[in-house]
Symmetry: C2
Subunit: 310 residues, 2 copies
Amino acid sequence: MIVALAGGVGAARFLQGLIKLVPEEKLTVIVNTGDDIEFFGLHISPDIDIIMYTLAGIVDETKGWGIRGDTFHCLEMLEKYGYETWFMLGDKDLATHIHRTYLLKRGFRLSEVTQRLCEKLGLKLKILPMTDQKFATIIKTDKGKMHFQEYLVKRKAVDKVLGVEFEGVGAEPAPDVLDSILNSEAIIMCPSNPIVSIGTILSLKGVKQALKESKAKKVAISPIVGGSPIKGPADKLMEGLGIEVSAYGVASIYKDFLDVFVIDHVDAGLKDKIEKDFGIQVVVTNTIMKTLEDKIQLAKVVLKSIGIGV
Amino acid sequence: MIVALAGGVGAARFLQGLIKLVPEEKLTVIVNTGDDIEFFGLHISPDIDIIMYTLAGIVDETKGWGIRGDTFHCLEMLEKYGYETWFMLGDKDLATHIHRTYLLKRGFRLSEVTQRLCEKLGLKLKILPMTDQKFATIIKTDKGKMHFQEYLVKRKAVDKVLGVEFEGVGAEPAPDVLDSILNSEAIIMCPSNPIVSIGTILSLKGVKQALKESKAKKVAISPIVGGSPIKGPADKLMEGLGIEVSAYGVASIYKDFLDVFVIDHVDAGLKDKIEKDFGIQVVVTNTIMKTLEDKIQLAKVVLKSIGIGV
């Protein structure tokens, strides 16, 4: 079994390559739910949806989220009814949120709901929300505290980040999260935001300990290339927390449990420093995923780096 | 003040004519909620929506329900998730149900929710759901008991009707329902199904009594023309209850409180019998509403019949 810790778009792209090399059935993806938010009474799990839609082949590849060819007619009408509509929810996409909300209301756990969604979307891998409990990533900015989605989507990450708070830190991981980590042969930290995507998962009760205890080989792919994130506000968040915005900074977050760190050619100069300071083996390759070939190639290097031949 | 008791499409068409003659502010419409149903956790109030959409000028005039030019992308996806989708809910239309469900969940009453929807849709008349309590029209058929929508929409009214049951008979009318009836100068029974649209309203606590006590002139338009309903399954329901499928049969349902009954030229032969048997004054006119002119003309005759000149 291979376990991946994942955020949204970056992770989804990497996993697209991975499932070409590893049977889906052997893969468990633990997904960040710190971005989860409610709009008009519907429960939205953006990262879970991005992963599901991408691996089911229905994602809008250009945007990286949402469903390809979706329309926004319901949202237009909701705007007329007075709702804020800065979070773009397509008509087909809304079916997912309606379904999820309905099942949650009927007493199912988010992990059960996610499993049902995956089955209907024809996915054979296991997608686990990191927790079934309430969890929210709050960004402290010079304009006040706000939900991560408000910071990122509504205000387009323009505010100065003063800190990050997790409402729900220490929450129980969803069933199977700790077991998957403890009983896998490999654990991959996808190229996701180390603070608000992977960091949320690490903040859950027992997760860091399980990562340390697990005999699995642990590898991460740096989402920071040449001092900037491929996508998203990782730089501003790392800066706001006083962490160096570089692959080195990312490695410093994972140093307690990581065996191998995969960085881009651009950052080859950091290899020695990371290996020396943190005792982590560094592999240098192309980490920019534009084509499916790029994704498969990166997945190949990652698997090879922890001794899995494909 | 004029009060109208209403079902869905037939009532909406008549009211389109009426609001051309009467200031919207002077009109209160009490709407059947026996057709209300829940799908995927969303509360649907079909008759309220038909009335609102029609009077707001956004209804799909061809179908008589739903929003003009709406798409069904969310429903297509919900079908993939395993839901029954025989009840056609468009993407824009879903915004209404999402909004309603959200407000109900937050503790608002259906009447408050309806008022908010009306405001957002720019309506100045008052639309009152007949009750804020749970109410469902159940059809007893040779295939078993089923919700009215299942009988009508899913099974297309093919089953033999053995009876009609109201789950919620004797429920409290929504606030203002009884007051509106008691304090109006005219009460119009729209050309709606006398069993499952107007009959539900009549079954509520105190409504029949208020109709009898009210000093308002009370007029009804027959939804049965030449022995058939203009739309819907009124004939099968009346037959199933042993009521004559004719304007005479409709009059027999309203006889305890009605002053004037408006029937179609086709049924002119029933005038004397209705007047004689029930002591109701009968007015004969064209009741088939194809154009806006037809609707206005019918509304004019109805108002004139109870002494309101326009």
